[in-house]
């Protein structure tokens, strides 16, 4: 058991080192956060700043610190909401090992298949946590400069959200990659996840501004609740500050709805605890699916149907 644990540690260390040495893979997994930052700098920042100001009733003015804290919080909640999933998808080494045939080298070594598969999940979680952790630190520095409104509890909740979302991304990608073993399929899935997930979870544009049909669809997608939880953490403090500036509760509610500070599921506001329940249940379900898939894959394959040798048949 102890020996197997040492082998697990060794494999996790190898997977993480290999990921960071593979510059192409590292860069690919950072594409989504980079796109978001570029979009924010190009026009999203100004657009949301203008939208927020337009929402305010006449006579109420917000300081630059509040406005920048609000848009900055929106940007970094988007980055975190997408990165926890897209980085997890693009940094899972299992599929690269299958493509490069390195997995063959582990199959012939005295290491259990389950240990090998667990090592991919753990290393995937750790690399994603590390990259998202860097994004959080960068976000803190940015918000510290333009406008900091996060409490200690917010920071703790942010860590909890990160862990739950990364678990969601890691387990989802581990299930998907279990069935992929070609470069073509890898590129297709990575491109699809990187480009679509940002829209699906409301990272590029708020879910509140989507059409009612799309909103109904994304409300059944667990990642949406992950995004809203990040928004609540990053924007909770600054929304309180906006309320303190004299903004009426109805207007504040509209701002929350418009910027995904809350989520309305068929005319009912979803409380935060329910969002945590949804995310945690999804993580538990994905864990169950992954364990089942690994169990079925590791079960000894039945011999392929025996057919007579053609020469013998003749």
């Amino acid at each position: 058991m102890r020996g197997e644990f040492k082998k697990l540690n060794n494999l996790v260390a190898r997977n993480i080192k290999l990921y960071f040495k593979d510059k192409m893979m590292f860069f690919c997994s950072l594409i989504t956060p980079i796109i978001l930052i570029v979009l924010f700098l190009a026009f999203l920042g100004t657009t949301y700043k203008t939208s927020l100001i337009n929402c305010l009733p006449e006579g109420i003015q917000l300081s630059d610190k509040v406005i920048n804290g609000f848009t900055g919080g929106w940007l970094f909640s988007s980055i975190l909401a997408t990165s926890c999933i897209t980085v997890a998808f693009c940094s899972n080494m299992i599929v690269m090992d299958k493509i490069n045939k390195s997995v063959l080298d582990f199959q012939i070594a005295p290491v259990k298949k389950t240990t090998l598969q667990i090592s991919y999940v753990i290393s995937n979680f750790l690399t994603t946590f590390l990259i998202c952790g860097i994004a959080v630190v960068v976000g803190f520095v940015y918000l510290g400069i333009v406008g900091w409104f996060l409490s200690f509890v917010d920071v703790l909740l942010l860590l909890v959200n990160m862990v739950v979302s990364i678990l969601f991304g890691t387990l989802l990608s581990s299930v998907v990659w279990l069935f992929v073993s070609s470069q073509g399929a890898l590129s297709a899935v990575c491109t699809m996840v990187s480009s679509m997930y940002g829209f699906l979870c409301g990272a590029y544009m708020p879910i509140g501004s989507m059409g009612s049909g799309v909103r109904a669809v994304v409300s059944f997608f667990p990642g949406t609740y992950g995004t809203v939880l990040f928004r609540q953490v990053y924007m909770g403090g600054v929304l309180e500050e906006i309320a303190n500036a004299g903004v009426p509760p109805q207007v504040l509610m509209e701002i929350k709805k418009g910027f995904d500070g809350t989520f309305i599921f068929f005319n009912h506001e979803v409380p935060s605890w329910a969002m945590y329940v949804i995310m945690c249940s999804t993580v538990a379900a994905l864990f169950g699916i992954l364990v089942l898939c690994i169990f079925l894959k590791n079960k000894k394959k039945k011999p392929s149907k025996l057919v007579p040798n053609k020469s013998e048949a003749n």
Partner: protein
């Protein structure tokens, strides 16, 4: 000598294609065993089954008396495998590749350092330990593949076409190390190769074609059975040519000699005695493994 590998009635199918068709053979401990066949003959499939990379359909495989169906965990440390294509991590350094692999064999650090030092010296890669694999030449990469297979002191080294595409210097290095390990540690070598001169050095040869074993014996017995002898006659008088034409014996006339194919050494001896007055300088050349392979399978190995 006991059998280190025993294969009984092994079968493997890929859908309706028969990859390995009911083959049985043994490899004795410490011997150099050559497994010959064209691409697609079933060599790599057999190797992959022995080392657990592929599931068999039926039959039995034993390594050191242990069944691969029941004791694979105990068998794996006994095997070292060099695959046809490198399975190491291109982006990692030579040292990292060997270290991460060695750690899977419950090896103490001091043992790893000792093995690494020995292999780096013998295979001449101590100066490239920190270099990533993708910055190495083909020959250097192959040496690291071989070092990886040997890092845990396996009892059986399986080499799947290890020297294909290697420069002569590297090939000599690799064979020197293998010869030393066989001598010092009684290591068994299971080799598949396209190089007939390598197969000719083997203690035992199995030839596989279309998933079936078509011949198995020592190289010398195989040559005696399947390869013809040749008489090369360098100096002769013209009477000999008349005799050959009269007796309708086929011969191949080269610039400096004529070459006559003989069924076996006895026939060659008889021919030389009968015509000794017309033959002044000659040599009898035994058939080579190329001829054995050609005569057994009807195919030229070097075409592939």
């Amino acid at each position: 000598m006991k059998n280190i590998i025993e294969i009984k009635n092994l079968k493997k199918y890929f859908k309706d294609v028969v990859a390995v068709d009911d083959i049985s053979f043994q490899v004795r401990e410490g011997e150099l065993f050559a497994f010959l066949g064209l691409n697609g003959a079933g060599k790599s499939t057999t190797i992959n089954i022995i080392c657990n990379a592929l599931a068999k359909d039926s039959g039995q495989v034993f390594v050191d008396g242990l069944s691969i169906d029941e004791d694979m965990q105990s068998i794996q440390p006994k095997l070292g495998v060099v695959f046809q294509h490198s399975v190491l991590d291109d982006k990692l350094s030579v040292l990292d590749n060997l270290k991460f692999r060695a750690n899977l064999y419950d090896m103490p650090k001091s043992q790893f350092q000792e093995n690494l030092k020995f292999l780096a010296e013998k295979l001449e890669f101590d100066d490239i330990l920190k270099r990533p694999l993708n910055k190495l030449s083909g020959g250097q990469k192959r040496r690291i593949d071989i070092a990886r297979a040997l890092i845990h002191n396996p009892r059986v080294l399986i080499l799947d076409e290890p020297t294909t595409g290697l420069d002569p210097k590297t090939r000599i290095l690799v064979w020197q190390l293998i010869t030393q390990l066989r001598k010092d540690k009684s290591m068994t070598v299971f080799l598949t190769t396209h190089y007939m001169e390598e197969a000719a050095e083997a203690d035992y040869v199995v030839i596989i074609d279309g998933g079936k074993i078509v011949a198995k014996d020592t190289p010398n017995n195989l040559k005696n059975q399947f390869a013809y002898d040749f008489i090369k006659i360098y100096q002769f008088d013209n009477k000999l040519l008349d005799i050959l034409k009269k007796k309708k014996i086929e011969f191949n006339q080269q610039k400096e000699f004529i070459e006559i194919e003989m069924k076996n050494t006895q026939e060659a001896k008889k021919f030389l005695v009968e015509n000794q007055e017309s033959i002044f300088d000659f040599e009898v050349v035994k058939g080579k493994m190329d001829n054995v392979f050609l005569n057994v399978t009807g195919k030229h190995l070097k075409e592939f």
